[in-house]
Amino acid sequence: MAARVQTGNRPNAKFAQFKLVLLGESAVGKSSLVLRFVKDQFDDYRESTIGAAFLTQTITLDEQTTVKFEIWDTAGQERYKSLAPMYYRNANCAVVVYDITQASSLDKAKSWVKELQRQANENIIIALAGNKADLVTDHPDKRAVPTAEAEAYAKEAGLLFFETSAKTAENVKDLFTAIARKLPLEQAGPRGLRANPRAGVDLRPEPQAQGGGCNC
């Protein structure tokens, strides 16, 4: 058998990279959703986010297409509020999170959506995520935001909508995949293509060639 070396260069593969920002009240589970999506982990005791965290995750939509998310997880506390525009500036997509057991967190989410629709990139794809869905499976009385209410709002505001659980992973992957599918993939180009390919060094005979690239 001939020796084969995998190089990872797949000539027909399409690749696109997008900036995604997470917004929402503190402790609704933004960081947990990202952790679930990126590392498939969940942590009951998470340190709250300071300023912003940055992570990346690449998902495969089909054999040809991979989408890489550059994820900006922001801190929910008020004192970081003024920083938010720096993170949603240039963002291609946003996930606005609320906690389905906290009615007030949906109000906060709505104000984020409003701000995004006014200030952010006009083509921004926004998804609304009602997180901590696991908490109401056994205790339906804990639910503070009815699914129908949030869904209606999402429809009206033109948002993708999912009820998620970072804890059980429910709908987490689906949320990000749905966003990826809505993104303008025609931008996609082959992965690894460089804008400025290095000028090659010709190896053509040049007796006594020294230094430089190759010692042919």
Binding site: M1, A2, A3, R4, V5, Q6, T7, G8, N9, Q17, K19, K39, I50, G51, A52, A53, F54, L55, T56, T58, T60, T66, E70, W72, L83, M86, Y87, Y88, R89, N90, R191, G192, R194, A195, N196, P197, R198, A199, G200, V201, D202, L203, R204, P205, P207, Q208, G213, C214, N215, C216
Partner: protein
């Protein structure tokens, strides 16, 4: 991971030159303060027993022989007068009786009664022993008092006595001597290890107000990193008169004012700035010969009253008893046997004849309590346990109960005392003092307005610790709530955050005979919160992290993520290239994101002279500006908050030197990159790749030792030197030339392909594409891989023309990178000399003979001659196929013009002549031949760099050309 790579160290801060050492120190202080603020979280309640003892030894010889008995073993308490609950007589019968004891007393041995079974908690039941002695030297001698230094011999004697007395392992944690005063604090091994910040000092208040014949020695220590304790051992002014009383009060105020301890050391180099005072502590113990007497009662009456009790210690016929009775004018009749002894049924404290009743009636006259009530001394929250023992002063030496029988007949009194105070009591007092001040102020105002004066005294003494919020007091055995409220001095304080104290025993050791004072002792149960070192270190780390976080919040910081091109691999902190092969380009994507709220600029920097990025790597910003200058990494990049940069980190080994080193194993393809964030921290990024050995870059001598499975079988190139020679010439060279010839035959049989081939440029196919094109070509890689692993060369995706191109390109690369040429300089020299000789003799042969001559010379090195043959044979095949013999010119043979004088010139001419003729004819065949010859000349022959640009070089060049042509050109033999 190789040992020279250090893992990413997130803790190493970027040392900003503007951050001074003092700023760092401030951070330390800040840290310590914050940790202190969370003290509750890392302290755990601990309970210990502290025993304090005080004894005026009156500079009597032999007193130290008694120290073990009373202070460490808790013996020598008279069951009648020692302060124990009366009626609790244990084994009294066996105890040596008083007369026998007194008769035995001497300064050469302990005066402790024999078989004294009753004793207090002792030995290792006590955790801290604090001993205060007075008059260990004769302070009444002017010589001693005015001595400018301490005589350490008496203190040494006492320390030796204590060391011998204490259980094993007890440690002297504090000592201070000042003339006659000696303070020694010992702790059990487990407690001693938790004691810190020990400081001791002396205050002299004697002659002229500062001489040390009177005054105090004091010690401060910190228990369990939390609880500050102060011990004061004093000897106050003596005397019964009013002036002496006032002097004692003044002494006390002086001691309090003038005692200064060194600043507290909080560890980690953090010290309090200011010294420490009495009053800052959590628990204070003040003991010594306070010298307060009994007022408003004739001393003689006191003496006589007390002797009535002590006489009962002696038998009817005892000399002392007789003396006492004579003095008291008591008849020696049976009735008077127990004059003061009460009936069985009456409670001792209620029994008018019991010592306790007498003691209580005398205590009313106690100056100390009076001064406390009057707030003249020890009013600032100090307390004392209930006195249930006879006055400790003054006895005949050697006597249990004979009060001073000398001329002076000094009035017995409770000169020796042990007081204590908790922070809570002190704070309470201070608060009351403030209230009082307010009341006084209001009084003044009212007075000014002619109003009635309020009774401030009522307010200050309104406090009853029992009803003022303290609980759990009632069941305390030392609480004496039934005492009149004019002794508000020993109420227990309930546990608070500082800790709590419980007086267990307050006793005198009546049966110690070696001094004119009886020693007294108090045992306390103390609860305090001690630091749990493990918890504290955890909290310390927490706080450090938090401070770091706060500090970093406003500083530039970036997050760096590495992703391999293989999407299945998870992003990581380090840069992992995986397997790395010669001429294989591997890329890892580095994403740097500014996660701070301020613009962040970063760059890659060199460290310890190591280049920022090793030569076999390069960094390129995607969609960004090209690297400028000669760097293989970009200029500093500035990111706005919320922005990120994608950087391709490329590993690519194509430089010969690097290739040799990796193959040799002398360097490894790993590194630690330093990514510096301006005004932020440095990121240390480990880079790793696994080098796979390559047949490229080896010398012929090593190549011939490679087995048929390829070079990968060896981990390191130099291991080859130990192998036997496995083939006469490099197998790789054979495989490449053979494959090329096979490919060539395939094409030769396909007219269409043959036509395509013939239309290629001159020199085809022995040309190379640009480096990067080769590097990214999987098919090229698979040829090299086949050579290195000994597997068949297969190029399923290449047509026969491409196959030829790929193989010949690989051949050129192989020869280019080979360490040393096929014909090294030394061999060439031999060959060229022989050729010149032949020419001189005008016998330079034609092709056929020239070829055999050359091979003859080369055969001294079989690998060289065989390799040479492989290549030239293959080239001649190419020439034949690429340009078939087409005209008569070829049969004309070379022109030899040997008529010119210089032999070398003639060679030159011969070569030139050939070229000239070819140029004129312009035949494609000649052009191809020339191109091949020139292409391979430097690949086959080692060039002598020293000849560069000289005429000799040109000659050498022409001779090589001549030799190669003899092999490559298909001239028909004449």
């Amino acid at each position: 991971m190789p040992s020279d790579i250090k893992p990413i160290d997130p803790g190493t801060p970027f040392r900003d030159p503007h951050v001074s050492v003092s700023a760092e120190f401030n951070t330390q202080r800040h840290l310590a303060r914050e940790v202190l603020g969370r003290r509750d979280e890392y302290t755990r309640a601990k309970q210990i027993r502290v025993k304090t003892g005080s004894w005026n030894v009156a500079s009597c010889a032999g007193t130290e022989k008694d120290i073990k008995g009373w202070f460490v073993e808790g013996k020598g308490i008279s069951s009648l007068h020692g302060g124990l609950p009366i009626g609790n007589k244990t084994n009294d019968e066996q105890v040596e009786d008083v007369p026998t004891q007194e008769a035995r007393a001497s300064k050469h041995e302990s005066t402790i009664p024999i078989n004294d079974a009753y004793h207090l908690p002792s030995n290792d039941e006590i955790d801290v022993y604090a001993l205060g002695l007075q008059e260990i030297v004769d302070i009444n001698s002017a010589a001693e008092a005015l001595r400018p230094y301490n005589d350490s011999a008496p203190a040494t004697r006492w320390k030796e006595a204590m060391a011998a007395a204490l259980p094993e392992g007890y440690v002297l944690v504090a000592e201070q001597q000042c003339l006659g005063l000696l303070l020694l604090v010992y702790a059990s091994p487990s407690i001693a290890s938790t004691i810190s910040s020990v400081s001791t000092t002396s205050v002299g208040t004697g002659l002229m107000g500062y001489m040390a014949n009177k005054g105090a020695v004091a010690a401060r220590l910190v228990l369990g990193q939390t609880t500050k304790m102060v011990f004061v051992n004093c000897h106050l002014a003596a005397g019964n008169d009013k002036a002496s009383l006032e002097r004692r009060n003044w002494d006390v105020s002086q001691i309090i004012q003038r005692t200064r301890f060194s600043p507290i050391d909080h560890g980690n180099g953090v010290m309090d700035e200011l010294g420490d005072y009495i009053g800052e502590e959590d628990f204070a113990f003040w003991f010594g010969d306070l010298n307060y007497r009994l007022s408003d009662i004739p001393g003689d009456d006191v003496r006589r009253l007390l002797l009535l009790h002590t006489r009962n210690e002696y038998g009817q016929d005892d000399k002392t008893r007789q003396i006492i009775d004579r003095e008291l004018k008591l008849k020696e009749d049976a009735k008077s046997k127990d004059v003061m002894a009460g009936g069985e049924a009456i409670e001792p404290s209620m029994d008018p004849a019991s010592p306790l009743t007498t003691i209580a009636s005398l205590m009313i006259h106690d100056q100390l309590h009076a001064q406390m009530r009057l707030r003249k001394a020890f009013h600032e929250g100090w307390q004392e346990g209930p006195i249930q023992f006879l006055p400790t002063y003054k006895y005949d030496i050697g006597s249990v109960g004979m009060f001073d029988s000398s001329e002076k007949r000094r009035s017995p009194s409770w000169c020796d005392r042990i007081l204590y105070r908790t922070k809570k009591h002190y704070q309470y007092w201070r608060q009351q003092a403030k209230e009082l001040e307010k009341v006084h102020k209001r009084d003044e105002e009212m007075k000014a307005r002619g109003l009635e004066k309020e009774n401030a005294e009522d307010i200050i003494f309104d406090y009853d610790p029992e009803t003022d919020g303290d609980d759990g007091v009632g069941d305390d055995p030392t609480s004496h709530n039934n005492e009149s409220n004019d002794t508000p001095v020993y109420q227990e304080v309930a546990t608070d955050s500082v800790g709590s104290i419980n007086l267990e025993y307050y006793v005198s050791h009546q049966r110690i005979l070696s001094s004119d004072h009886k020693p007294l002792a108090a045992i306390f149960d103390i609860q305090y919160n001690a630091v749990d070192a493990e918890l504290k270190s955890r909290i310390y780390q927490d706080v450090a992290k938090e401070i770091d976080r706060q500090e970093n919040e406003g500083r530039p910081s970036v997050t760096a993520i590495f992703e391999s091109q293989d999407l299945h691999e998870k992003p990581s902190d380090g840069c992992q290239f995986g397997d790395l092969r010669f001429f294989q380009e591997k890329t890892v994507l580095l994403t740097v994101a500014n996660t701070s709220p301020v613009p962040a600029t970063f760059e890659f920097v060199q460290r310890d002279g190591v280049p920022a990025i090793p030569l076999w790597m390069r960094l390129e910003i995607r969609n960004g500006p090209r690297n400028t200058g000669h760097n293989n990494f970009p200029d500093p990049i500035t990111l706005q908050p919320g922005d990120s940069a994608n950087i391709d980190v490329v590993a690519f080994v194509h430089q010969a030197e690097q290739l040799y080193q990796f193959n040799e194993g002398s360097t490894k393809p790993d590194a630690v990159l330093v990514m510096r964030v301006y005004k932020g921290r440095d990121h240390f990024i480990p880079v790793q790749a696994n080098w796979l050995p390559s047949c490229f870059g080896l010398s012929i001598d090593r190549l011939i030792r490679i087995g048929k499975d390829g070079v990968r079988k060896q981990r390191l190139d130099r291991e080859l030197d130990k192998e036997v020679v496995k083939s006469s010439a490099p197998r790789e060279l054979f495989r490449l030339t053979e494959s090329l010839e096979k490919g060539l035959s395939n094409i030769a049989s396909d007219p269409a392909r043959l036509e395509v081939m013939r239309q290629q440029n001159l020199g085809w196919p022995f040309v190379c594409r640009p480096i990067e094109e080769i590097a990214r070509d999987d098919q090229s890689l698979s040829i090299r891989e086949a050579l290195d692993t000994g597997s068949p060369i297969e190029l399923p995706n290449a047509n026969s023309i491409e196959e030829i191109e790929l193989l010949s390109e690989t051949l050129v690369l192989f020869l280019s990178y080979m360490s040393g040429q096929i014909v090294p300089l030394q061999l060439w020299d031999i060959l060229s000399v022989s050729l010149v000789e032949l020419e001189k003799a005008r016998r330079l042969p034609q092709d056929e003979q020239l070829r055999s001559h050359v091979l003859d010379v080369l055969s001294t090195s079989p690998p060289a001659s065989i390799s040479f043959t492989f290549i030239t044979f293959m080239l001649s095949r190419f020439v034949t196929i690429m340009a078939p013999v087409d005209d008569a010119l070829d049969s004309a043979g070379p022109l030899l013009m040997l008529s010119t004088p210089g032999v070398q010139d003639s060679i030159l001419k011969r070569a030139r002549g050939l070229s000239l003729r070819d140029d004129q004819r312009g035949t494609r065949k000649r052009q191809i031949e020339t191109a091949y010859v020139e292409r391979f000349m430097s690949l086959i022959f080692e060039m002598d760099d020293s000849l560069k640009g000289t005429r000799a070089r040109k000659i050498s060049f022409d001779m090589k050309k001549l030799v190669l042509e003899a092999f490559i050109l298909n001239r028909k033999a004449e």
